[in-house]
């Protein structure tokens, strides 16, 4: 079988009468960064939900690293190395950043609850090793100074980065990012792009990233898949997909790096792409 990290075949998801995904195919190779774009309601988040197991498909298959996880509980997909960040951050408010990062490494820690009760020293040593990994990830992402801070009080930009750090701390095979730059200032968004590119390159995880900011998508991804009404309407490099006629009717005129304001007018007849 292929070495693809993710194979989605004909995934169909219904939400009580509304067909959110209508037979979506997606294949992601190791180390590839794939962008997922499309108008609101196109099914991007639903696709991520379907891959990580939060939503059960009514048809089709999801195969992660060679294992069919279709219809299984999310922790099974996580066990195969899927990590996910959420659009509205999903950190545990009452735990500090370090504990949240350790949660990201949950599948790597072997301790059962009995070990927890007894507080065995061997366990503590193992945890220390994992803590060290979390510190490294936190510093890479730039939140190293916040490790002891409870998640509840984090400023928004830091929260988003901790959310990303938690997913990275899982050392995933497949990283699913849901709007990791939404609400961030341009510099912060650029930092996130740099981190993801850095992590994915050279033997890192495959990444599927949903984002509305085409500049971010263009900078981060190797190729882009466009969804509309639950179907794939275009796939290819960012520039080509963004200019695809099928999207122009549903998207306001897209922008490419160096172009005009987001959502600007379509190119006038005779003008080439900006």
């Amino acid at each position: 079988m292929s070495a693809a990290v993710l194979e989605v075949e004909g995934l169909v998801v219904d939400y009580g009468g509304v067909r959110a995904l209508d037979g979506v195919d997606l294949t992601v190779a190791p180390g590839e960064v794939v962008g997922l774009i499309g108008p609101n309601g196109a099914g991007k988040t639903t696709l991520l939900d379907g891959v990580c197991g939060l939503v059960r498909g009514h048809g089709g298959r999801v195969v992660v690293a060679g294992e069919d996880v279709t219809g299984l509980a999310p922790h099974r997909a996580a066990a195969r190395g899927v990590a996910r960040s959420f659009q509205r951050t999903s950190l545990v408010a009452d735990l500090d950043v370090m504990a949240n990062l350790l949660l990201g490494r949950h599948r790597h820690l072997g301790a059962g609850f009995l070990d927890g009760l007894l507080g065995r020293r061997r366990l503590r040593d193992e945890e220390d090793r994992h803590r060290a990994r979390c510190v490294a990830v936190a510093e890479h992402v730039g939140v190293g100074g916040y490790l002891a801070v409870p998640a509840r009080v984090l400023p928004f930009g830091v929260r988003k980065r901790v959310e990303l750090a938690r997913a990275l701390a899982a050392e995933p095979r497949l990283l699913l990012l849901d709007e990791p730059t939404a609400g961030l200032a341009p510099e912060e968004a650029d930092a996130v792009v740099a981190i993801v590119r850095d992590v994915a390159g050279g033997g890192g995880p495959a990444v599927v990233v949903v984002d509305h900011d085409l500049r971010v998508v263009a900078g981060m991804t190797d190729r882009v898949v466009a969804l509309d009404h639950g179907r794939v309407v275009a796939t290819g490099p960012a520039a080509a997909v963004a200019a695809h006629p099928a999207l122009a009717s549903t998207y306001l005129g897209p922008t490419l790096p160096g172009g005009g304001p987001r959502g600007a007018r379509e190119p006038a007849p005779g003008e080439g792409p900006p």
Binding site: G16, G53, V55, A73
Partner: protein
């Protein structure tokens, strides 16, 4: 056969009263998302205040009952205003514990004021019976059914036609949107609690009428309405009524037949039976009988 008919009528009447309590739960839960564990206190309050009005002060029974219900409704609104409103942002256990605390304190106040004696509440039905279609049924059961039907019908009209009813439905459906539309959500919430408490109090009056009495453990009847609410799925109004009916029937029929036909079920199994039924139903249909199955999740 006539025994069965009599039990059925009794069960349906009891079910009607439970249905009113359940309806009270649902109104409150739909508006503010809280399970009011103090419903039993309002139920008892309704009965005891009616006793005060009708027996101690000699008022005309329907007037005493109406005053009792109104007073309980006021207490319900007060509870919402003073306690529940402050807990809106907290996790569910906060409201659960708060209403439980109110229930514990409230039940104590009731026994402190009225003592432990059992008081007949002065209703006109007493132990009399009617003959309906050749079957002898207790008058009070017929009266309870009649009152329940009237109240439910009035409620249906209220929710469907009146502005206030519409406001309450809007609030229940989408609180934020209701605020955005200018609906006075706080007032609506207080009204919902007033209605919920009032319904419980009315049920209390009905349950204490006839050969029954206002007694300290009357409030526990509200607990038996819980299965009714759960069976229906918390958000369903007709479901609450049907749930109440089911619970009433299960309780009465079990009490009537189990000791003879299934003594191994134990003494007083009729008190547990509604809960057992609830567990079974929930196991098969977790959302209750009246709400659509939620979208498939893992």
């Amino acid at each position: 056969m006539t025994e069965l008919a009599r039990l059925v009528v009794e069960g349906v009447a009891l079910g009607g009263a439970y249905g009113l309590v359940a309806l009270g739960f649902v109104v409150i839960a739909k508006a503010t998302g809280v399970v009011n564990f103090a419903q039993g206190t309002f139920l008892a309050l309704g009965a005891y205040l009616t006793y005060n009005g009708a027996v101690t002060w000699g008022l005309w029974f329907p007037l005493a009952a109406a005053l009792a219900v109104a007073a309980s409704a006021g207490a319900g609104a007060g509870l919402e205003r003073l306690v529940v409103r402050r807990l809106a942002a907290r996790p569910p256990h906060a409201a659960i514990m708060a209403t439980i605390g109110v229930a514990v304190a409230g039940d104590q106040v009731i026994t402190m004021v009225w003592g432990f004696d059992h008081h007949p509440i002065g209703d006109p039905w007493g132990a009399s019976s009617l003959r309906l279609g050749g079957v002898s049924v207790a008058t009070v059961d017929v009266a309870v059914l009649a009152v329940t039907v009237v109240v439910v019908a009035a409620g249906a009209v209220f929710f469907a036609r009146s502005r206030l009813g519409l406001a309450m439905r809007a609030r229940a459906a989408d609180g934020e949107l209701a605020v955005a539309c200018g609906i006075p959500v706080h007032a609506v919430d207080a009204l919902a609690w007033a209605l919920g408490a009032g319904l419980a109090a009315l049920a209390g009056v009905l349950l204490a009428a006839g050969t029954a009495t206002a007694r300290p453990d009357l409030g526990l009847a509200a607990l038996r309405a819980f299965p009714a609410v759960i069976l229906a799925g918390f958000a369903s109004v007709p479901g609450a009524l049907v749930g109440g009916l089911v619970v009433g029937l299960v309780e009465v029929l079990t009490a009537g037949y189990a000791p003879v036909h299934a003594p191994w079920l134990g003494v007083n199994v009729h008190q547990v039976a509604p809960y057992a039924v609830m567990l079974v139903v929930l196991w098969l249909r977790p959302a209750g009988l009246f709400t659509a199955s939620p979208a498939r999740r893992w």
